[in-house]
Structure formats: structure tokens, C-alpha cells
């Protein structure tokens, strides 16, 4: 069998073994004790040639209902947005995607600068002073924010709204076990965090309050009230998880006193790809700059005074600080941060506002149409591009029917909220046309009866 990634010829091999001074390659493995040697071939599928493998994998891909062929109203943290063609052209440049972490700045200025630009864009969107070079995803970024708040305040209690993405909450719970944090959930009232309950729970022990804005149920949280509450507990940190596209139109969390803002930039240039890789962002205040998890790119100059960029403040990180590091993150999501930076550059200052507005307008149109068709919506507060309707049948059942009509229906909230049977969370992005929305309303009404 030939292997196109392996350039060693028999002649090379013999010459190299001779130069090493061994008679065969087995000698190089002779230090592996025979007891732990694998004495049979691994049981794997036979090597496949490029033509057959591509065919086979294309068939496998075709077994999946994809968002290009189906009309999707599914969001809940992952969205079907416009991805400018330039994005894939840029990230397909192998100088970017086949590079390692930019530890050698002299030959990594491209990556370093692109990330510096990404950090700047995240600061612009969130209104925060400092943003890092990326986290794995919105969920782990939030969990790291929570752990940081506990370390910083030396407190153990975290108040988390149940209107935070349910899977993000699960990730928080797992990360919180390490430092033994106590997670206290705050319920919602009319789709928003119950401020009264928050007020009661908030005390001297509280490290942070975790809010999603816009929240998982689509609603905009009462940020001003939360900010006021925290005026009385100055040490308690406010952490928000925010869809960065929404921040193209909405008041940034910094204006409501957020100490840490996290989220996922999947909305900018990153395909859904079954949930990953996406790209977490982490933004905070100057005060917490030296506590930020993950890599930071900073501006400096070279020996000749020319501007350049380097990885900086590395004393926070695992390779220097080891067990005292602020986080264990090493590899992050650099290429996806690049994709998002390209998308944000392409969409630009005015495009961003327009795109956010398109989402809001189309979502409101869909909501109105659904109401007109006799279906009931659940909340009437301000929202971005997601809202809930209530159905008489299980959402999973309806979604199987919709699928047959070429539609991917909304998110089944019963999975995470026991009192939300028949509640479907619907996302409407700029990619949905009026015709598609009308069709969705019609099919849903037909199925629902």
C-alpha cells in the first residue's frame, strides 16, 4: 500500500538506519517492554484511496438534513447566519491554518495582528476594556468567568439565572466542582430573571451574578435593575453571556456595569457544524486584565521601532505558572477567531447594525404571523431574534413532521424546562425570507391543527 503523506523510500530508510547505527527500525522500539507491545495489527478499516473515501464520506454527509437544503428556525445558541464568501477564502490560506500558536513573533505577525484586531472588535462590541484571543466556546468561557469571579472575590456562592443557556449551565456546574463552588439558581418570571428572587439571594457571600443577555428564552433581561441591585453589593461581580450579533444593536453589557462579558462568536462567519468548533470570547475590565484566562496578544515594537505584536502577560498561563495558572487552557480557537474577525470586517460598522436589525424585524414579522394564524406566543417583553410559542403537542413530534416538509423547527424547551411542555423556541435570522417564514407558519398551523 502506498501512503501519500509518507515520503520515506526504502533507500532513505536504509541510509537513515545505517546512520543511526541500527539494523532495523525494530531496534528503535526495543525499549518498549514486550509485555506492553501490541502483537497484532490494530483492528481498523482498511486504508481508503482519496476517490473512494470522498465518495463514501459524501454519502454519509448526505444522510444529514443540512441547513442549506432545509429551512431552519432553530437557534438556541447556534444560528444560521450569512457567512460572507471571503471568510472561507481567508481561513483556507494554509499560512494561517497550518501554523501553530504564534510563539515566534518574527514569523507570526500575520496571526498575531489578526488576533489583536479580533480582540479590538470584541472590545468594541461588548464595551469592555480587554478581550482575550478566544476560548473554546461560549459555555466554557462562561464557566471560566465564574471560576475567576470566585478566585477574585474569594467567595463561593454564584447566582445563576435559569434563563442562561441550559448546556452552559451544565458546563458551569462541572467546572464549579473543582473549586467547590455553590451554584444557586434564580428562576424566571415572564421569561426574565426574577429580580425579586435575585435580590433575596444576593448577599455578602455572593461572588457573582450570571445573566444571559439576550437570554436563552429570547428575552432582554432587566439589566438596569440588576445593575442597581449590584450597587449594594459592590464586590459581587456581574457576568453576562451575550450573543455578540445582538450587541450590534443593543446597549453593550459594559454600560450595565458588567465585570466580565463572554459569549460565542459563531454568529460571525462560523458554520453550525453540529455544535463545534465555534469560538468563545472573553472580555473584561482593565482591573482584571492580569487574571484573564488564555492567550492575549499585545502591541509592541521591534528593535528598529517597527510596530509588531506578541503573545503577552504570559505569566498568567499554564506553561509559566503551571499549577498556579489562572486557567489550564492552552490551545484555543484561533482559526475561528480569525473567521469571526474576517466576518466582522466584512459586515463592518454599518452592516452590523443592519444585520442585527434584519434579525429583529424578521423575527417580529414571524411572531405576528404566527399569532395571526391562531398560535399563541408566550412572552411579551422586548426580545432580539428569538421567541417562544406554545403548542398543544410535543415539540419533538411536530419537528419530525416539519422535517418532512423541509423545515427544521424550533428548539424543544421541554428538554430543559419541565414546565415548558409544548414550548418551542423559534429563531429567525436575516437568512430567512418572507416566503420561508410564511411557509413555516402555514406548515406549523397545518400540523398543529
Amino acid at each position: 500500500m502506498e501512503f501519500r503523506y509518507l515520503p520515506m523510500t526504502e533507500e532513505d530508510k536504509q541510509a537513515m538506519l545505517a546512520s543511526i547505527g541500527v539494523k532495523d527500525s525494530e531496534e528503535l522500539f526495543s525499549d518498549i517492554p514486550s509485555n506492553v507491545r501490541l502483537n497484532r495489527p490494530m483492528d481498523l478499516k482498511k486504508p481508503a484511496n482519496e476517490v473512494d473515501l470522498k465518495k463514501e464520506l459524501a454519502q454519509l454527509a448526505n444522510k444529514n438534513a443540512n441547513l442549506k437544503q432545509y429551512t431552519s428556525f432553530l437557534g438556541a445558541g447556534v444560528y444560521d447566519h450569512f457567512i460572507p464568501s471571503v471568510v472561507d477564502h481567508v481561513i483556507s490560506r494554509s499560512e494561517f491554518y497550518t501554523a501553530y500558536t504564534p510563539y515566534q513573533p518574527e514569523i507570526s505577525q500575520g496571526e498575531l495582528q489578526a488576533i489583536f484586531e479580533f480582540q479590538t472588535m470584541i472590545c468594541e462590541l461588548t464595551g469592555m476594556d480587554v478581550a482575550n484571543s478566544s476560548m473554546y466556546d461560549g459555555g466554557t468561557a462562561l464557566a471560566e468567568a465564574v471560576n475567576l469571579s470566585a478566585a477574585q472575590t474569594k467567595r463561593k456562592k454564584i447566582l445563576v439565572s435559569t434563563a442562561v443557556h441550559p448546556q452552559y449551565r451544565m458546563v458551569i456546574e462541572t467546572y464549579a466542582k473543582g473549586p467547590n463552588l455553590e451554584i444557586v439558581y434564580i428562576d424566571t418570571k415572564e421569561g426574565k430573571t426574577d429580580v425579586e428572587q435575585l435580590k433575596t439571594a444576593l448577599d455578602e457571600e455572593t461572588a457573582s451574578v450570571v445573566i444571559q443577555y439576550p437570554n436563552f428564552l429570547g428575552q432582554l433581561e432587566p439589566m438596569e435593575e440588576v445593575q442597581q441591585l449590584l450597587e449594594n453589593q459592590k464586590k459581587t461581580m456581574l457576568i453576562t453571556s451575550s450573543n455578540p450579533l445582538a450587541l450590534g444593536y443593543l446597549t453593550p453589557p459594559a454600560a450595565f456595569g458588567a465585570d466580565i462579558v463572554v459569549g460565542d462568536t459563531q454568529v460571525f462567519g462560523i458554520p453550525a457544524q453540529f455544535g463545534g468548533p465555534h469560538c468563545g470570547y472573553f472580555a473584561t475590565t482593565k482591573k482584571l486584565m492580569r487574571k484573564v484566562p488564555g492567550r492575549l496578544v499585545g502591541q509592541t515594537t521591534d528593535e528598529d521601532g517597527v510596530r509588531g505584536f506578541v503573545l503577552t502577560l504570559q505569566a498568567r498561563e499554564q506553561h509559566i505558572r503551571r499549577d498556579k495558572a489562572t486557567s489550564n487552557i492552552c490551545s484555543n480557537q484561533a482559526l475561528n477567531a480569525l473567521a469571526s474577525a474576517v466576518a466582522m470586517s466584512s459586515i463592518g460598522k454599518h452592516g452590523l447594525k443592519k444585520m442585527a436589525a434584519l434579525n429583529m424585524k424578521k423575527a417580529r414579522y414571524a411572531m405576528k404571523k404566527l399569532e395571526e394564524s391562531g398560535l399563541s406566543t408566550v412572552h411579551n417583553g422586548a426580545f432580539f431574534n428569538e421567541f417562544i410559542i406554545q403548542l398543544d403537542k410535543p415539540v419533538a413530534e411536530i419537528n419530525e413532521q416539519l422535517l418532512k416538509k423541509g423545515i427544521i423547527g424550533g428548539y424543544d424547551l421541554a428538554k430543559d424546562y419541565p414546565d415548558m411542555n409544548g414550548h418551542m423556541l423559534i429563531a429567525v435570522t436575516e437568512n430567512r425570507s418572507m416566503k420561508e417564514i410564511n411557509q413555516f407558519v402555514k406548515e406549523l398551523r397545518d400540523i398543529h391543527g
Binding site: 500500500m1 546512520s19 454519509l60 480587554v130 473554546y136 453540529f274 509592541t300 480569525l338
Partner: protein, 485 residues
């Protein structure tokens, strides 16, 4: 911006330029200001660039030209396995049926994706000799932490709450002790002996009833196989601890030996190293975790199962440590790893390890005359030289690394592992041809000569790069982390 400064995208921006083409507003327009309370409406738009499509492409193309990847040239960065990133992998990952599917679609509509994941899981179990694999962890460090959390849950399920310590060798990667801390453990260091292997006597000294686990990579970060692995496993297991395998170095042993057979209870793999996931300038990666039957109940949820012909995610796992990531992990990286494994098969993967080891030994033997080799024995996929001989001439390892840039190579990993003075850690990988290695050897020998004859040439390197050495001290002392007008 000084004359020779390369412009930022913000400095190329001009009010009124457009780089986007958004869908139309085809629904009746409404007044959003009337829809939202005023406090929610942003008063100032985020200052993103305004740039035409061509200028955007020129900007990023120029940036890519200021970067260096595996496709640009030799990249012997130890511990990072900078092997070739196959192009078919990229094509597969971009197929619509893989890249444009939503994680919350009905499972019936994503069976193809789940089948691929299941097949990958099965292949990784076989390669590592572990009973069960969860793909969910996002990268190596997250895999380490995931496995440690499982080990913690295992001990706690046995009513054993006093195992608070994780043992890591002094040669371990920084993520090992950091992951131990994040998982709520205290790390304890075990020393290496003069052969570069874990010192068994020291291990016996530090192990005890408070040991939760020993974290180890084998071959270790010096590229040496821990020959006493069975004894080490016994020592740790007898004390009631678990053995954890950092799979960053799996590239040396595929088809030759498996962590499962060495007595490891949990492993993580770096799909972005051994299995050709591209590094992407720092990520995304993927760090699947494999475990023995005993640890299986603690796997992160959900786990992927096959029932008859159908695949499904099982969320009903009462002893699970919970979720470590939203959705199902970095699926796009699974596709690349899977395509690679299918391309190579058992035969190809074993050859990859064989050639990786031959390449590393060849390079090591060719360089040992000019550079100190602290541990003179056959290495596996990588080896560590010491620049201490050059240091006596006033030339530091950092200088050697910078001088390599002038010769057009990416330098090796430097100053790691910590137990070697002036370390130069080299991992050529199997995808490099002999001619490439010979060229690099030539350059390294040349630099050794320069260090003797004209040390300033090396000390002041690089000379040929687009920028010179950076002032990292000022960068850290007065951090500028974003652009401001």
C-alpha cells in the same frame, strides 16, 4: 502609525465603504425604536472597519504572507506534532451535510454525523486500547481536566474523599499541573532520574493514600519511553491511585503499544496533533478522552451509543461528571481525524509511527556532535538537545532559535521540558522527507559554527525576517491589547 508599520484593518477603514451583501428586508418594515425600551438601544455603533471586499482580501492575504505554517516549511516544534495537514480532510469538513448541521436537530436527521462520530470513537478505542471513548473535550488541556474530574468522581463514589493529590513528573507539560488545579487537586512533582525517566524511588516516596492519580506521557516529553511503566502502574494502583495518560505523544507508538495495555486508566488524545487536525494558529483542537470499564460511568454526558442500526445520545447517566462542553465537542476536527484514520488504516498509522521515530533518531544522531544530548539513547518521535555548550560561548538557545528563522525554518520548542538546561525540543514527524531533514541539519551545524566564530551573528538574529526581535518586556509592562484611534 510609523512609516514602516504594517497597517491594521482599522487604519484601512474609511467611512462609507462597504464589504457586505446582506439579504433584503422583504418583510414589512417596522420602527425598532418603538419596539424596544430606550435603555436597550445602543447609542454608539461598535467601531468595526469599513472596507471594500478587495481591500479586505488584500489585508488578510498580506497578513497570511506574514505568517508561517507547515505548508510554508519545516516545523520541528517538539510536543506539537506539526505533521502535514491533508487537504482531503479540509474538503470533507466543508461538505454541507457536515458543516451546516445544527446540534439540536432531531437525531433522526443527523444519523450520518453520528455514525462518523461513533466510528471514530471505536477507532480511537482500538488505537489506545481503552474500553470507551468520549469525544467531547475541546483540546488536550480540557481532556486532561475531564479525565481528572472522572478520576475524582470515581474516588468519591467509593467514599474516598481524601485523595487530594495528583502526581506529575518534573518534565510534564504545564497543562498537567494546571488541569490538576482546575479539577481541585494539589499537584506533587515526581523527579526524573539521570536517564530522563521517572525516578521510581521518588515515585514511591510521593505516592500514598492521598494520591488520586499519576499523570504521565509515554514516551515522555524528552521523547523517551518510560520502560518501567508496568512497575509504575503497579506502585500507583497499589496505593489506590489511577494512571492518566497525556496522549500528546501518541505519534510515537501507534500500532506498537497502547496506553490501555500499559495499565493506564484514562487517556486524552490530541486530534490536532497525531491525527492531523490543523493547528489553526493556536486552535481549534480536539481532546477525546478514553477510559477503562471502571471509569465509564463517569464519562461526560451525553455519550454516543448504537442501538440496532440507529445512533443516539444517551443523557441518562447518573454518575456522569456532567457536561464539559456545550453540544458534542469540536465535530469539525473529528471529521479531519476520521478522514486521516480512514486514509491510513492500521498499516499506515503504524508506518507513520515507525517513520516518525526513524526521522527523530536520524536528526538526533546527526546533531549530537554539535549540540549536547543530555540523554544519549534511542528516542521515540522527538528528542531534546541542550544548548549549554553554546551558552558557554554566550549564545543562548533563544538566539539559536531566532537564527533558524533566517535559514527559513520554524524553530524547535525551546526551554521545555524544564528539566533540561537551555532545552531544544525537536519533533520532525513522519511527513518530512530526508532531504528536508538534511537541509535542517546543515543549518543547525552552520549555526553551531557561527556560535563559535561569529557569535554576534546568532545573538542578533533574526536578520532576514520582516520584523526584528520584539520588545516583550514593554509589551507586558505597559500592555496595549487593543487598537485605539
Amino acid at each position: 502609525m510609523a512609516n514602516r508599520d504594517f497597517p491594521l484593518i482599522f487604519e484601512r477603514s474609511k467611512t462609507g465603504r462597504t464589504g457586505y451583501s446582506l439579504p433584503e428586508l422583504d418583510v414589512p418594515d417596522i420602527d425598532l425604536e418603538a419596539e424596544l425600551p430606550k435603555s436597550y438601544i445602543r447609542t454608539e455603533s461598535p467601531d468595526l472597519p469599513e472596507i471594500s471586499e478587495l481591500d479586505l482580501m488584500r489585508h488578510y492575504t498580506a497578513l497570511s504572507n506574514r505568517n508561517y505554517g507547515v505548508d510554508s516549511g519545516f516545523y520541528p516544534l517538539g510536543s506539537c506534532t506539526m505533521k502535514y495537514n491533508p487537504k482531503i480532510n479540509e474538503d470533507v469538513a466543508r461538505m454541507d451535510g457536515f458543516s451546516h448541521i445544527h446540534p439540536n436537530q432531531p437525531e433522526s436527521s443527523v444519523q450520518g454525523a453520528m455514525e462518523m462520530m461513533y466510528d471514530l470513537q471505536t477507532a480511537l478505542s482500538e488505537i489506545t486500547g481503552m474500553d470507551e471513548v468520549s469525544l467531547q473535550s475541546a483540546a488536550g488541556a480540557q481532556g486532561e481536566w475531564t479525565a481528572l474530574m472522572m478520576i475524582r468522581a470515581f474516588h468519591e463514589a467509593n467514599g474516598d474523599f481524601h485523595r487530594t493529590k495528583v502526581i506529575v513528573p518534573d518534565s510534564a507539560h504545564g497543562t498537567n499541573p494546571a488541569s490538576a488545579t482546575v479539577a481541585g487537586f494539589e499537584s506533587v512533582t515526581v523527579k526524573s532520574n539521570d536517564k530522563g525517566l521517572v525516578d521510581l524511588e521518588d515515585l514511591k516516596r510521593v505516592v500514598g493514600s492521598d494520591t488520586a492519580a499519576l499523570m504521565l506521557t509515554n514516551p515522555n516529553t524528552l521523547g523517551l519511553f518510560e520502560t518501567e511503566i508496568e512497575a509504575m502502574a503497579q506502585i500507583v494502583h497499589e496505593a489506590g491511585g489511577k494512571l492518566y495518560y497525556d496522549g500528546a505523544n501518541l505519534n510515537a507508538i501507534m500500532g506498537y503499544a497502547r496506553p490501555g495495555d500499559m495499565g493506564f486508566d484514562a487517556v486524552h488524545l490530541n486530534l490536532h496533533k497525531t491525527f492531523t487536525g490543523p493547528h489553526g494558529g493556536g486552535g481549534p483542537g480536539s481532546g477525546p478522552v478514553g477510559v477503562t470499564e471502571e471509569l465509564k460511568p463517569f464519562l461526560p454526558k451525553p455519550i454516543l451509543e448504537k442501538r440496532g442500526a440507529a445512533y443516539r445520545f444517551n443523557h441518562d447517566l447518573p454518575q456522569s461528571i456532567g457536561r464539559v462542553k456545550p453540544y458534542y465537542g469540536n465535530f469539525g476536527i473529528y471529521l479531519r481525524a476520521y478522514t486521516y484514520i480512514r486514509t491510513m488504516g492500521a498499516e499506515g498509522l503504524k508506518k507513520a509511527s515507525e517513520y516518525a521515530v526513524i526521522n527523530a533518531n536520524y536528526l538526533m544522531r546527526q546533531l549530537q556532535e554539535e549540540y549536547d544530548l543530555p540523554f544519549d539513547q534511542h528516542c521515540k518521535h522527538e528528542f531534546v538537545l541542550s544548548g549549554r555548550r553554546q551558552k558557554r560561548l554566550g549564545v543562548r538557545t533563544l538566539d539559536i532559535a531566532k537564527r533558524l528563522l533566517d535559514y527559513g525554518y520554524h524553530p524547535p520548542t525551546i526551554y521545555f521540558p524544564l528539566n533540561v538546561e537551555e532545552a531544544l525540543m525537536m519533533e520532525p514527524t513522519e511527513t518530512e522527507a530526508k532531504e528536508t531533514l538534511d537541509g535542517f541539519i546543515e543549518a543547525m551545524k552552520q549555526i553551531a559554527t557561527e556560535a563559535r566564530d561569529e557569535p554576534e551573528l546568532v545573538q542578533e538574529a533574526p536578520h532576514e525576517t520582516i520584523v526584528k526581535r520584539m520588545d516583550e518586556t514593554t509589551a507586558a509592562r505597559k500592555p496595549i491589547l487593543r487598537y485605539e484611534k
